[in-house]
């Protein structure tokens, strides 16, 4: 049986209140909040965070045969972004890692391609939605990522949702577009594409249900995703599913994360669906696509360790709109009077990929001392080249001491710095993110998160930071599955 064997989502910590946008710009008041990627996040780093949740069971990692990263906001062009995700996840070097980038529809493409694949496939949908200040894309947009692993049943990796059918229809339709480099996309009059999308969704849904031998009344969860909000609402209402099957689209609380939206909504449904339920995922955009899944008895025991709803609940109090604008590069603020940040140098970064991307430390075989970063000479017994790799991404720690650096170059001053003592040994000094100064205290519990620390000389610098362990997120997976 083929199907979904793991999933996970990443909803950024930060929120922007639409009312604050309106108050600042003097536009009509909006309601609700949107999720905002941190100043230190991009589609690559968010993809890593979502995939880490999906791959929380370490037994899955060796099985992955290929990795697709779908995004409409790639961190790099020409250079593959999926390889950074691949490195951070410490996947085998023979795993194919490629981007499906540019269009929001690439999320659907990655999901369907993964579902069709003969080898276990990790597909990650990640997007960071930006519009011009006050525009509907800015206030309705959202940031986030979701990851799914499709594959067959093997020991330890049961199928959580069986793939019943899928169908896609393609249509060249000019309803939304963006020239490369443009700060925001443009859209045709909304009413133009509505009828077309409703018809395309019907075609795809009919084809998929026919393949599965189901009728519309069998759908327990109808997810409709797309940037055309009006068309999505119509499809949700008229698709013929039972009214209670229509899934709320979360736009009010986290916004529409574009490429990642179908993934976030699907993850949210999987977080709460019962065994044996039929999920219809309908994605609109340059055509339509439908994926039909039926949950299995294995789902309840293997849900995501970080449910979408819990991540939404654990979000920050709304941030100032001016902060959002500066994070997005729409408000150019005075930098500190300090040397410009250094870009990463390619050779040392490449030599240290396991550390820099994978956060792999070393442990002395002679005396057991852990070293972050990995060292050749043991700091305790000074044995030379007697080290074994020690992946640290899941290991939590406690703050030994801390500071708030108001002089350091950071896109969001001040820089919070903590010295972390890890459970099981080892110490590392790093930045604390998704946090306020009140979170930087001796004794605070922290976990690691993959971030884009800075972009200098046109080069993104990726590395790990600590973040507070927050209530509202389940799973202290450290002890149970990573011991």
């Amino acid at each position: 049986m083929a199907g979904l064997i793991a999933y996970g989502a990443h909803v950024p910590y930060h929120r922007l209140a639409r009312a604050d946008v309106a108050a600042t710009l003097g536009t009509p008041p909006g309601r609700g909040t949107r999720a905002v990627a941190g100043y230190d996040e991009d589609t690559t780093s968010m993809a890593v965070e979502a995939a880490r949740v999906a791959l929380a069971r370490d037994c899955l990692r060796p099985r992955i045969g290929q990795l697709f990263l779908a995004t409409a906001a790639p961190a790099y062009l020409d250079k593959t972004n999926a390889t950074a995700v691949h490195a951070a996840l410490r996947l085998d070097e023979h795993v194919l890692a490629v981007d499906m980038a540019g269009s929001v529809r690439s999320g659907l493409g990655a999901l369907v391609t993964a579902a069709r694949s003969a080898v276990p496939t990790l597909t990650v949908l990640s997007d960071l939605r930006t519009g011009l200040p006050g525009g509907s894309d800015e206030v309705a947009g959202g940031d986030g990522a979701a990851a799914f692993v499709f594959g067959g049943h093997r020991n330890g990796a049961p199928v959580l949702a069986e793939l019943l059918a899928h169908d896609t229809v393609s249509d060249e339709i000019l309803d939304r577009w963006r020239l490369p480099g443009a700060p925001a996309s443009r859209a045709w009059e909304e009413r133009f594409a509505e009828e077309i999308y409703v018809s395309l969704a019907d075609k795809a849904l009919t084809a998929a249900l026919d393949q599965a031998g189901l009728d519309r009344g069998a759908i327990d969860h109808l997810i409709v995703s797309g940037l055309h909000a009006r068309a999505c609402a119509t499809v949700r209402r008229t698709a013929g599913a039972r009214p209670e099957a229509a899934v709320p689209d979360l736009t009010g609380v986290i916004g529409n994360a574009g490429t990642a939206q179908p993934g976030l909504l699907l993850a949210d449904v999987l977080d709460r669906a019962k065994p044996g339920e039929v999920i219809a995922l309908v994605v609109l955009g340059d055509g339509a696509g439908v994926v039909l899944l039926r949950t299995t008895d294995a789902l309840p025991a293997h849900r995501s360790t970080r449910p979408v709803a819990a991540q939404i609940t654990a979000g920050s109090a709304p941030m100032p709109y001016a902060t959002y604008l500066s994070w997005r590069g729409l408000l150019d603020r005075e930098p500190p009077r300090r040397p410009d940040p250094e870009p990463p140098y390619a050779p040392p970064a490449h030599r240290r990929t396991a550390w820099k991307y994978g956060f792999v430390a070393s442990r002395c075989e002679k005396c057991g001392t852990r070293h972050l970063p990995p060292d050749r000479v043991c700091t305790s017994c000074r044995s030379v080249d007697a080290m074994t790799d020690e992946p640290m991404e899941h290991v939590r720690g406690t703050v030994a001491t801390f500071t708030v650096d108001r002089l350091a170059h950071t896109p969001s001053p001040p820089m919070l710095v903590v010295v972390v003592d890890y459970d099981g040994g080892g110490r590392f000094r790093c930045q604390l993110t998704d946090a306020t100064e009140a979170d930087a205290v001796i004794g605070a519990r922290v976990e690691m998160t993959f971030r884009r620390t800075v972009t200098a000389s046109g080069i993104h610098n990726y590395f790990w930071k600590a973040r507070p362990v927050r209530t509202g997120e389940t799973g202290d997976e450290t002890e149970e599955t990573h011991g």
Partner: protein
């Protein structure tokens, strides 16, 4: 293997030190010329009498040419040394060893730094092509040293507000001293409340908790002890030179608790052994220590053996290290008020020892311990930060041991 000190084998017979501060109109070359000129004048010699040079700078030049070009030295050996903020002390140590070895009769140690031309706040650092990838968690210098404060407060049960009072008093004391020093960068006393309420730079540290970013140069002339009186009636004799580079494991090892510099403890113990000092608090006339940031000076009082562990904050509060205290610390104002041009600082400390032990410090800041019969001074200079540093401790004295 063991370390052999060179107690009483070399002497400093001339010193120079420029005013430290914002020298907008003068270059590093200008500062070198001034400091070296003052040193040779004080020793009653000319530059041609110097056989070899050890030149320290962190970032204001590379190679011996930086000095030889500035002074137009005719074909002399000039070695550039660098050990972060302890660079000046490293230059002195090498010059002393060169003379003690018998290789040269007269050696000079010179340090310089020109920080204010960078336009940056604080230390601009050097462009070392390291990993360049944030994977060592680099922070600015004040943030780095501010890590000491919450750790010290937590370990010894002080409220952070109490500790803030302690470090405020350290800054206040050093400003009081600096106000009495015509060469210091900051020459005004600063009220406690102004120090305490100053804008925060990092952690608990306000701007007054940080050493002055400045330009400056200092120089020392070293000869064999038996030759010293040919140059001056009041040489100061080198009793101990102790320098260590730590294993840099404090940021790796959870057992390091950020309330001490083990490198300082090690270098101090070695210096006391070389000099035969058993009770530094009672035997030293003064100490010049590396107060790059106020919590550093607090911790150093314990690491150097001037106070019991966990007790230095009480001694600070009671004034033990004030100009009129039982052991004056940083009577010249320290890095805090005198300023901190990286490569010059270690030699600037020695310059204060030179003045005080010779009775040449201005009357308003002369330590009374010398008149009371103490004849030893300690300088302490470190580079790096908590968990990862190099540390230098010297002891010099105005009298040869019996």
């Amino acid at each position: 293997m063991s370390s052999h000190g060179i107690r009483d084998r070399v002497a400093i017979v001339g010193m120079g030190c420029t005013p430290f501060g914002e020298h907008w109109t003068r270059s590093a070359d200008d500062l070198l010329v001034d400091a070296v000129g003052e040193a040779v004048t004080s020793a009653g010699i000319t530059i041609d009498d110097i056989d070899a040079f050890w030149f320290g700078t962190q970032a204001s030049g590379v190679s011996g040419l930086t000095l030889s070009r500035a002074l137009r030295l005719p074909h002399k050996p000039v070695t550039r040394v660098e050990n972060m903020c302890a660079t000046g002390s490293e230059a002195l140590r090498n010059a002393c060893y060169a003379v003690a070895s018998g290789a040269y009769d007269v050696a000079m140690a010179v340090g310089v730094e020109k920080l204010k031309d960078s336009g940056m706040s604080g230390l601009s650092g050097t462009a070392i092509p390291g990993a360049g990838d944030d994977s060592r968690g680099e922070v600015t210098a004040p943030a780095n040293f501010s890590l000491l404060a919450p750790a010290y407060a937590a370990k010894y049960g002080l409220a952070e507000e109490e500790l803030k009072d302690v470090i405020t008093r350290i800054a206040w004391k050093n400003h009081v001293n600096g106000a009495r020093n015509p060469r210091a960068q900051f020459r005004k006393e600063v009220p406690l409340e102004r120090i305490r309420s100053a804008p925060i730079v990092a952690g608990m540290l306000g701007v007054f908790d940080c050493s002055g970013v400045s330009d400056g140069s200092a120089a020392a002339i070293v000869v064999r002890a038996e030759d010293a009186y040919k140059y001056t009636d009041r040489p100061i004799f080198v009793k101990a030179l102790s320098f260590v580079a730590g294993p840099a494991d404090g940021l790796l090892d959870p057992e390091y608790d950020f309330t001490t510099f083990p490198e300082v403890v090690a270098s101090a113990q070695e210096a006391y052994r070389q000099a035969g000092v058993t009770d530094p608090r009672a035997e030293l006339a003064l100490a010049e220590v590396h107060d790059c940031f106020t919590p550093t000076e607090l911790v150093l009082m314990e690491d150097l053996g001037f106070a019991e562990r966990g007790q230095a904050w009480k001694d600070v509060t009671s004034g033990s290290f004030d100009l009129d205290g039982s052991l004056p610390v940083n009577p010249d104002g320290g890095l805090k008020a005198f300023g901190h041009p990286i490569g010059a600082s270690g030699l600037r400390m020695m310059f204060e020892a030179w003045l005080q032990l010779r009775g040449e410090a201005p009357a308003e800041r002369t330590v009374k311990s010398v008149a009371e019969g103490r004849s030893l001074a300690l300088t302490h200079n470190l580079g790096g930060g908590p968990g990862e540093c190099v540390s230098f401790v010297s002891i010099v004295g105005s009298e040869l041991s019996a």
